[in-house]
Structure formats: C-alpha cells, structure tokens
C-alpha cells in the first residue's frame, strides 16, 4: 500500500488480497473445525435419547460425561500435539505408568500422596521431553519414537510393578496419607445424588485453557505454524524445537494427570491400564476436526470427539444392544462422525470467497 501521501486518503478500494476479503458469517461458522463434531454429537445424543430416555436425564448424563472426561482430558492435549504436526503413541500407556508410579510411591514407599503426584508429574514431563528431544534431534517420525516409548513404558510398567509388588497391580492406594484430599480434587464426585465426576470439571477447564492458548496467544499461532509448515514457521522466527518439545511435555503431563485421576478413583492400578487408549485419544481428535497432517483442528473439537465416544459407550449399554456388536457400533458411530465433519468442512471450503 502506501499509495496515499499527504492527508487526503482516498476511499478504501476493494482489496485484492484474498486473505482480507469479507467472509459471510455462515461460512465463518461452517469453517470452524469443531462444527461437524458438534453436529455429530447432537445426532449421536438425540439418537441414543430415542433409544432410552434415561440417556438425556441427569443420572444418565453423569455416566457418559464421566466416560467422556477421562478420554477428553488427554484428547485435548493430543489434539494440540496433532495440530503441531506430531503424534504421541505413548499417550495411552503413560496414563498407566503415572497411576502405577504414584501408587508405588504412595503404597510401597509410604510417601504422602500429594508428593507422589508431584514426583509423578515431573517424571512424566521428563518422558515428554525425551520424546520431543528425540523427534527433533533424530528427525525420525514421531510415530516411531513414541512407539518405542510406548513399548519401553509397557515393559517398565509390568516389570517394575511385578518386581516391587509381586503382583500385576498396585492396590490399596486409598490407605496412603493424603488420599482423601487428593481424591476429592482429582477423583471424587459432586452434585449428589447424580454423582457427576470431578474429572468433568477438569475436562472443561483444560478444554477452555487449550482453546484460549490456541486462539488468543502467540504460542497458539506458533502451534498452528509448526504443524502447517515447520520450515516456513522457522523462517519467520518461530522456535520450532521449543514449541514441539513443549507440546510433547504438555501431552505427557496431562496424560499422566489423567492416569493419576483414574488411579485415585479406583484406589488401584493394573499394569496393563491405558494400553490402546492412545488410539481413542487420536480418534477423538480426528472426529473433532484435527487432520493427520497437522496445522488444522481445535481443542473444543477434540473434546466433542471424546464426548461422542463417551456417549456411544454408555448409550450402547443403556440401549441394551447385544454387546457382541459393541465395537462395530462404536466404529460405525465414529465413522459417521468423521464423515459428517469432513462433509461439512468440504462444503465450507467450497463456500469460501
């Protein structure tokens, strides 16, 4: 620009740059990555309400938001990582590792549970750092690096647990000092007699924080940048390595927090806990509009994806369908959700301009 010297600026001419063209409100809403997930969630929710009215009642909602919350909390950070262009296949198993570590520190070592939680989260941050550092340094795909971490943690979980407790699980976490206060904050429930899980509040809070970071802060721009095109981002001065390592660390810490919540609630942890859950987190993010190539997606979308998984899981029980077909139903529902989302996004892109 700079074509208007002096005071008398000419009336604004139509701008040629297509990034600055006005977009209709409809198109802007349609282009939100989470819109498809929202519609899919509504469809799934209405569908299950027609199967059994309990699904939409306070007691029923408490059940599926509970299932959704322990999927949604990790799914949000997994989505951030995916927007940043990376995967973490160790995100499921680290929930188990964290629960076991906290349990062993509290029950076998006799530590106060709060101290055990802090040490566990620090260890998880360490695992995340190693994941991120390895990905950056070796330039290997994060699939490979975190798959290795997955196996290492799975082995450590079983080996260490057996060596220390002589069993495949840690029991009696509720006997550790500090348990009741920690459980109130991480594992308890509220709103008697419906018993909503406190994890639901954590889920909402973490979704809100992640959304704020993504949409309102510089770091959020960086995350979209490194996921969209890491080289371009580096060229405009984004600290790519720091952003990615930070994302891996956040993912590990929040997943570990989820594991701690589960362990406190159950008062015990089995060595196999969490194995396979990483795919549930990733599918939640994808249902919510994240793409596998990075650079696109939202935190709310991932939460809605987790909500759909939770609704399907409990909805299938409430509907009393033959559970032999449970995973078929779950797969079909997820596929429908992804298709709805994709369809809407394609349409939105068609409207653009």
């Amino acid at each position: 620009m700079g074509a208007a010297p002096g005071g008398a600026a000419p009336a604004p001419v139509p701008i040629a740059d297509e990034r600055l063209t006005k977009i209709s409100t409809t198109a802007r809403i349609l282009r939100r990555p989470e819109l498809g997930a929202l519609l899919a969630a509504l469809v799934v929710g209405i569908f299950f309400t027609t199967q059994n009215s309990l699904f939409a009642k306070l007691d029923g909602i408490a059940n599926w938001t509970d299932v959704g919350s322990t999927i949604g909390i990790p799914a949000v950070v997994v989505a951030l990582l995916m927007i940043g262009g990376e995967f973490d296949l160790s995100s499921g198993v680290i929930t188990g590792s964290a629960g076991l570590m906290m349990g062993i520190l509290a029950v076998e070592v006799g530590m106060n549970i709060w101290l055990a939680i802090v040490l566990t989260l620090i260890a998880a941050a360490g695992v995340g750092f190693v994941n991120g550092y390895m990905v950056i340094k070796t330039k290997l795909p994060s699939f490979i690096v975190t798959l290795a971490t997955f196996f290492i943690l799975e082995g450590v979980n079983l080996g260490v647990t057996k060596a220390i407790t002589n069993q495949v699980s840690v029991d009696g976490i509720d006997t550790a000092p500090g348990y009741s206060s920690a459980n109130k904050i991480f594992g308890g429930s509220f709103w008697h007699p419906h018993d909503y899980r406190v994890t639901v509040l954590w889920w909402i809070a973490i979704t809100a924080i992640a959304t704020w970071v993504l949409t309102r802060t510089r770091v959020g721009n960086w995350i979209y940048g490194v996921g969209g095109d890491a080289n371009a981002a580096r060229n405009v001065g984004v600290p790519v390595a720091r952003v990615k390592i930070g994302l891996f660390m956040t993912t590990s810490v929040v997943c570990a927090l989820t594991g701690i919540m589960i362990a406190l609630r159950l008062a015990s942890m089995q060595a196999g806990q969490g194995v396979g859950d990483e795919f549930t987190f990733i599918i939640s993010a994808v249902v919510g509009g994240c793409v596998l190539t990075g650079g696109f997606g939202s935190a709310i979308g991932a939460s809605l994806g987790a909500l759909i998984v939770g609704m399907a899981f409990i909805g299938i029980q409430f509907s009393n369908w033959n559970t032999d077909w449970r995973f078929l139903f779950l797969g079909v529902i997820l596929l429908v959700a992804v298709l709805v989302n994709n369809y809407i996004r394609k349409r939105a892109e068609g409207i653009r301009g």
Binding site: Q167, G172, D174, I262, A267, N320, D324, I333
Partner: protein
Amino acid sequence: MKRLIGRLLIAVLALGALVAAGCGGSDNDNTTSSGAAAAGTSTSKAAQDVDLTQGSGLTIAMVTHSDEGSFWSVVKKGAEQAAKDEGVKLIWSPSNNDPQKQAQLIDAAISQKVDGLAVSVPNADAIKGSLAKAKAAGIPIVTLNSGAEDFKALGAITHVGQTEEIAGKAAGAKLKEAGAKKVLCVIHEQNNIGLQQRCQGVKEGFGGDVTNLQVKGTADIATTQTEIKSKLQADKSYDAVMTLNPDIASAAKTAIKGASSSAKLATFDLSGQLIKDIQAGSVLFAVDQQQYLQGYLPVVFLKLYKTNANTVGGGLPVLTGPGFVDKSNAATVAKLAQDGTR
C-alpha cells in the same frame, strides 16, 4: 443445509437398521425388552431392598471383566438362558479386563435402576466404590467367577464360582487314582495367584511328588512346548503332567510325544480340541469349572432374592466346579460344547 440434514438422517437410519439387525437375537431372548417397562417396575426400589410384590419384569445387569473369548461366551449363554427361563431382562456388560470401564458400567447400571447386579471381581479395590453405591441404592449384588475372597466384604449375597484350591485338590486326587507317582504342574503365567493356588491344590490332593514348572505361556506355545519336552527328557521319572489351560495342554501333548515319555496328561478348562483329545485317550481328564453356571445361577439367585427374599450359600461361595470331563462323558460334553453351553 437441507441436503446435509437429509444425508445425516439417512446415516442415522442406516445405523438404526444396523442396530435392529444386531439386537434381534438378544431381544428375542428376553421377555420384556422395553426399557420403559423395566424402569416402571422399579420405582419403589430405593425405598426398600426387597419388594416382594415384584414378579418378572425385573432387570438384572451382569457387569463382568469379560473379554468375549470362548470362556466368557459360555457364561453369557448361561445368563441369557436364565433370563429367558426366569422371565427377567438381562443387561450384559463386558469390560474387556479394564477395571475403570467395569466401574463406569456398574455406575451406568445403577443409573438404569436395575433390580439386581451380578459382577465378577478380579480387582475388588477398583469397583468397591461403585458397589457401595449400588448397595446404597438398594440393589442386591451377587459376585461370580472371581471374587470368592471378597464377596462378603463387598456386601454381596453370595459368590458363584470355583475356588482354585478345591479344584486343584480334586484334580490331584484324580491323578493319584489314575496311578501317577510323580507330577509336573505347568504354570503358564508368572505370578498369577490363581495358577499357583491350582498347583498347590494339586499337590495337597495328590499327596505325593508334585513339581511346578514355570513356562513361557500361551503367547509363545512353541517355546513352551520345548520347555516341557526338555523337562521330561531331563527327568524320565515324571509319569503325569498337569496343565492349567487347554492350549498349554496341546503343547504338553506334543512335548510328551517328543520326549518319548509315557506320562499321562490332564488339564484345567476345556476347548473343542481338548474334548477330541480326551475321546482319543491322549488326555486323561479336564477340570471343568462349568462357567455356564456362573452366568445362569446369579440371575436365578437375584430373582429369588427379589421375589422371595431367599439367600443361597449360607455365607459361603456356591461352587460351580470342579466338574470333570473324561472319556466317560466326553461325547456328551462335546455335543454341548458345540451348542456353546460347556
């Protein structure tokens, strides 16, 4: 947008059709399949534990750690048959060895206001909170399969299952009867307490020389087979091998042949192949925990409790095993196994 909604509707309808197709079988098994009817019958349940005015129309939820494998499909069949015979509605909720899911599914059953709850208890700590909630809501509980040690503490009416040590004792006695002198007891999972208890029981029932052998397990049958073979080659005096799983029994059968040993073979739990081996004489007998009963009886017990205030077991577990399958009844059992009830 209209076209979009149209397509969404089609997707939902397609899903509904799928559901209808999938559920046809289970709906036919239950006399009442409408959720509204079931909810209506249980409105006064919170007020009192036992409401003798209730007849059929009860809803019973069975929330197990089931993995949908061959063992649990027989439990399910038993529960479905009992629901049909007793005229109650059954909600079958497997949780694939995930204690968190099991707790969540128990919570869901409580919200559904079921009239009775049957649960397996592989991990008492993980579900005791949910079971306490069920108790507070006045829902009677029966434990099944695992949980013989915990059922009283959890407030269950009774437990339906096999206690490992008693089953082991009976198996050991049967080996002695068959004239064995020295037994090799093959443990295929490290630190599985139940398996240790089985071999301990075999030792007590046999009253003679029983050695435990830890092997690699079902994930690596080839190595397991070599391990058993090497053991038999190294010590020719073993004249009986006791395995604790039908797949390991198959491996042991080959190992005995490979070691040119004449040891007799017996095992815990059944499989189709195993019944054939028993008929052919290469396996002496199988200890059968009759898991069909573990599905069937809890439904009956809960119905009796709700309608007639009956309790079973007198504070002790109700044992479903050990039953034995040997040459004398293998043909009968083979036929039943084909129907999925053994």
